[in-house]
């Protein structure tokens, strides 16, 4: 009887979903729009870093360092200055992001076996552009130096620090962003749709006819959760197809790990959605409530700001934010090719949240006021 009732309820939910003028479109259109547009506009990709060069050496080498920087894909020379003050003025009025100072007698000191230092100063107002710009400029200068010494047959390489970004070697923001965008899509779609569905039944009055039937509340709530598993899986599939077709990004790891995490996380979000619906009398109330959750989820889960750079107390809070685990899984599987053995803790956390929220959803659903 129970399994049969669930089947009947699911059949109804899915027919209504298909007939809805909005939902099938949202499932297809939203991933396409979000995944096509956001990576283009919200890019952290640093391409046009303007470098001001203060050349106090005026040697062949110093000119070559500047020329190589200008030739780089990411960097361009905005001007050569005689004094540091002038270069700083260029940063202040926004024409330069990074200042490279080549000290006097650089080439001479280098030839004498000393270790002269290049000086790099970056504008920290735009953090990403500043740090990445300084890194790119340093890499370019080091490259020039190495080549120069090879040509000279000299083996005295100055000690250099090199930073290699593993898994995302060029720190391409898209690679980092695309798994996160799929997480955002699931948060929004699987958070809002079940809430609106259930509150709509309240507003339309259909819930009254349902509540006088002998259908148990657990079966009823389950019939409100399961359809969003399917929706979540569809959304992630569309997202992965766009990631591959448009950005050429293919998950490094097992695709079923992504589906498993999506399944669990869809349940987390739809459980939350049903809970919010149970506590709201009107659609407006429910939209504001779910919106509050979504804002916190987006800001605190490490989607945009890395958790490691949050204050300690905020880092503790993130353990209670379910999307944190989903994002970790998505990025690890997509970019690093992690396996279940690496990620079992995150899966366990998601399973825990999914169970907890489904139970809360069922308990707070009251057939009798």
């Amino acid at each position: 009887m129970k399994a049969n009732t669930l089947k009947i309820l699911l059949h109804k939910e899915i027919s209504l979903m298909k007939r809805s003028p909005l939902i099938p479109r949202i499932i297809i259109a939203m991933p396409i729009l979000v995944m096509l547009i956001i990576p283009l506009v919200a890019t952290f990709d640093v391409k046009n870093i303007d470098v001001a060069v203060v050349d106090n050496d005026h040697s062949e080498l110093s000119r070559r360092i500047a020329a190589d920087i200008d030739a780089s894909e990411y960097l361009s020379i905005t001007g050569c200055y005689f004094r540091y003050d002038e270069a700083l003025a260029a940063v202040e009025n926004g024409t330069a992001d990074v200042i490279l100072t080549i000290p006097q007698n650089y080439l001479k000191d280098l030839a004498n076996g000393k270790m002269p230092k290049l000086d790099l100063k970056a504008n920290g107002v735009n953090v990403t552009k500043g740090t990445l710009g300084a890194q790119y400029a340093a890499a370019s200068a080091t490259g020039t130096l190495r080549q120069w010494q090879n040509e000279q047959g000299s083996a005295t390489l100055p000690a250099t620090t090199s930073v290699i970004n593993r898994y995302n070697p060029t720190l391409d923001f898209r690679n980092y962003m695309i798994p996160a965008l799929m997480v955002i899509l699931i948060i929004i779609i699987c958070g809002y749709l079940p809430t609106l569905n259930l509150v709509n039944e309240k507003e339309a009055g259909t819930i009254e006819a349902m509540n006088v039937t002998p259908v148990g509340k657990f079966v009823f709530v389950l019939s409100k959760l399961i359809p969003y598993w399917i929706v979540g899986l569809l959304v992630v599939t569309v997202g992965m197809i766009i990631g591959w077709a448009v950005y050429g990004l293919i998950p490094e790891g097992n695709i079923f790990l992504i589906y498993l995490a999506t399944l669990l996380f869809s349940l987390v979000m739809s459980g939350l959605g049903v809970f919010v619906a149970n506590k709201s009398a009107t659609i407006l109330q429910s939209i504001f409530m779910i919106f509050a959750f979504i804002i916190i989820f987006q800001l605190m889960s490490g989607l945009f700001t890395p958790i490691a750079s949050m204050p300690q107390w905020a880092q503790y809070i993130t353990y209670a934010i379910p999307p944190r685990y989903f994002i970790e899984i998505m990025r690890a599987v997509y970019l690093k090719g992690s396996s279940m053995a690496d990620l079992w803790q995150q899966y366990a956390a998601l399973l825990g949240f999914a169970t907890l929220l489904s139970i809360i959803a069922a308990i707070t659903y009251k057939k009798r006021a």
Binding site: L9, K12, S15, L16, A204, G205, E208, A209, V212, R368
Partner: protein
């Protein structure tokens, strides 16, 4: 004779407002019982309690012999509830709605079709039309069919005729009479006093209190007041003049005329004389038959 519905001292408060205050009455098996009262009288609250959608603050109630609190699970299969608002899925078709509710109650439409056939008759012509696209009267017939499809013992109808045209209303009461013949007890609420006379028994409810319970005819006889009709070309001066006449307990508009509730001091000749003196030369007063509405106004004022 058993009672299909027993209500004992039910009280329900919403904040400071007592929606139902110590309500007690019973509905005999196999009867059409009317719950008559104006908007805000507490009718819908009482329905919600009987349909297990709301818990009373105190008191107890049984429907079809089942307690609304303890036996609510079994009770839900024994009642058919039709809320005031259309509560079927607008985006499902006529036939989908019917089959959906039938299967939730674990019955097949074919098995109970005989019960709904007279009601469903017209709807059967367009089974694939969306419920949202039905006319008001058709929606109501579909809702009634869905409430009946599991062959309930008791049918709870909350203001089924509100907003329905006169012809459909009359048709609806005929359908209720057919259902009664099939042994279904019906509790029906309405704010139309004229519909009260179609019921076997009625309860008058106002501001959460039950004013009286009896057969409609007996209730009218019990009024103990004489009712007169009064009319004149200018109604407002007439109303003012009548209210000053000896023996008039109350005077209120009733359709196009005025109704006078009088006691034994009232004298028809004197009253007409008084009105002539006041200059209302075309005034007429003549005996009328009191009905539920007169009784209701009297009881509500007390």
């Amino acid at each position: 004779m058993n009672n299909a519905i027993e209500i004992r001292n039910i009280t329900k408060r919403f904040g400071n407002l007592a929606a139902l205050d110590n309500v007690t009455f019973s509905v005999p098996d196999g009867s059409v019982f009317g719950l008559i009262g104006p908007d805000g009288a507490g009718k819908t609250t009482l329905y919600s309690i009987l349909a297990t959608l709301l818990a009373p603050d105190s008191g107890r109630a049984t429907v079809a012999g089942l307690d609304v609190i303890k036996d609510f699970k079994r009770l839900r299969s024994a009642i058919g509830y039709m809320p005031e608002r259309f509560s079927l899925y607008p985006d499902l078709t006529v036939s989908e709605n019917l089959h959906f509710f039938a299967s939730l109650f674990g019955v097949r439409v074919e098995d109970n079709f005989d019960l709904i056939a007279p009601i469903f008759g017209q709807l059967a012509k367009f089974p694939h039309r969306m419920a949202a696209a039905l006319s008001g009267g058709m929606k109501q017939k579909l809702a009634l069919s869905c409430a009946l499809i599991h062959r309930p013992k008791v049918l709870l109808l909350d203001e089924p005729t509100t907003g329905v045209d006169a012809v459909s209303r009359s048709e609806f009461w005929e359908m209720l009479a057919t259902l009664k013949q099939k042994g279904i007890t019906i509790l029906v609420s309405t704010s139309y006093m004229d519909e009260a006379e179609r019921c076997d028994r009625i309860a008058l409810i106002n501001k959460g209190h039950i004013l009286d319970v009896d057969a409609p005819g007996k209730l009218v006889d019990k009024t103990g007041i004489d009712i007169y009709n009064a009319s004149a070309r200018e109604m407002y001066p007439l109303l003012q003049a009548i209210r000053n006449i000896d023996g008039v307990k109350d005077c209120y508009t009733f359709g196009a005329t005025l109704h006078l509730a009088t006691d034994k001091n009232f004298n028809l000749e004197n009253a007409i004389g008084r009105l002539r003196q006041e200059g209302l030369t075309d005034a007429r007063i003549y005996p009328a038959k009191g009905n539920i509405e007169d009784l209701f106004i009297k009881l509500a004022k007390e």
